[in-house]
């Protein structure tokens, strides 16, 4: 005789990911490692933003980078060329990073870090659903993508704390309104901090890096 048994679960399907993310956040709080998760469409300039951000910070902080890509070590090589430790996570087709991938890769890093940057797989949909234990989620939007992106990919903008509009040097040739992009994003997430930067000219980079330092200080006040 068999019976049908109903088991009430009511649990988040991604609870395993969330569990690992929580464990990571605790470990990073312990080691005072400020962790930034960069999310954007492919080609928005995540690696390029890091190439301009890291030289500003690297003299004073110990920095590491996790590079998420479907294939190749190219992005990690670009970071290593700056003299910053980088671990490439190749997902082999998976469209986002998950907390357990991050944990595995982070454990390969040699030193204790003050900043860990995680460059997610270029994708504005899937990465938004996966908590990596980060302190700060940054969404990038490049001028060449169009200012209506926030409305099309709301979850990425809703779950971020910072919006960085990149490739601002293209503003004069593109039909992109910073104000429209900002308003569209703020309508989805009113708490967003917005930066407008150009890695090419360096415009906006100081405000962005000062913000990162300030956020780290707020999270880990000096004892």
């Amino acid at each position: 005789m068999a019976e049908i048994r109903t088991v009430r679960v009511m649990e988040n399907i991604l609870k395993t990911n969330d569990y690992v993310a929580r464990r990571l956040r605790e470990a990073w709080d312990q080691s005072r490692t400020y962790v930034v998760n960069l999310i954007s469409a492919p080609g928005a300039g995540k690696t390029t933003l890091l190439e301009t951000t890291l030289p500003v910070l690297m003299g004073r902080y110990r920095i590491g980078v996790l590079e998420g890509d479907i294939e190749t070590e190219r992005d990690a090589d670009r970071i290593r060329a700056l003299g910053v430790e980088a671990v490439q996570v190749t997902t082999g087709g998976t469209c986002h990073l998950e907390a357990s991938m991050v944990e595995q890769a982070w454990r390969l890093m040699d030193t204790e870090l003050d900043f860990l940057f995680i460059e997610n797989v270029g994708n504005l949909v899937c990465p938004a659903s996966f908590d990596l234990g980060e302190h700060l989620r940054v969404v990038l939007l490049s001028v060449s993508e169009g200012d209506d992106k926030p409305a099309k990919y709301p979850k990425a903008f809703r779950t971020a704390q910072v919006l960085v509009i990149t490739k601002a040097d293209l503003l004069e040739v593109m039909d992109f309104s910073v104000e429209r992009a900002r308003q569209g994003a703020l309508e989805i997430q009113p708490e967003l901090q917005v930066f407008v930067v150009s890695a090419k000219t360096g415009a906006g980079i100081p405000a962005w890096t000062q913000f990162l330092e300030q956020r780290r200080r707020q999270t880990f006040p000096e004892a």
Binding site: M1, A2, E3, I4, R5, T6, V7, R8, V9, M10, E11, N12, I13, L14, K15, T16, N17, T94, C95, H96, E98, V125, C126, A128, S129, F130, A151, K152, P154, K155, R158, L186, E187, I188, P190
Partner: protein
């Protein structure tokens, strides 16, 4: 295509429940998918069908998906509303600070198992995370 990863997580969770209860097979899975969960129900269903072919305990299982529309509440005036498209501004007072009432869910609501009568199942440590809800009287 992250629906495949999400289904993998779901199948893992269900497999643990099957073992805990010493069940023969799964009859039905009931999940809640919020409008803002970034999950497309049809893709989730396709991923489920793929897993059903390789996981014997799911061979005859059904997947029931409850879609949960997005509902917001204005933090300024308190009105609850369903946003039109992706404009989250309050429909009454125009304020932009809103709280999500529902629509971000990605939940395994319950699992129906076929269990040999009298089998209490293995109760691992800390199994209170999975609470037994009812023994329905259906017998086969």
């Amino acid at each position: 295509m992250h629906e495949l990863s999400i289904m993998q997580a779901l199948v893992d969770a269900v497999e643990a429940i099957v073992q805990e209860h010493g069940a023969q097979r799964v009859v039905r899975l009931v999940v809640e998918v919020g409008e803002m969960s970034n999950v497309i129900p049809m893709y989730l269903r396709n991923a489920f069908l793929a897993f059903r072919e390789v996981k014997p305990f799911l061979a005859q299982a059904e997947l029931e998906i409850h879609f949960v529309p997005l509902r917001l509440q204005c933090e300024a005036c308190g009105v609850e509303f369903q946003p039109q498209g992706y404009r989250y501004r309050c429909i009454e007072c125009g304020a932009t600070r809103v709280r999500v009432v529902q629509g971000e869910e990605l939940l395994l609501r319950n699992v129906e198992l076929e269990v040999e009568s009298g089998n209490p199942g293995v109760q691992p440590f800390g199994s209170s995370a999975v609470r037994e809800f009812s023994n329905s009287g259906i017998r086969g």
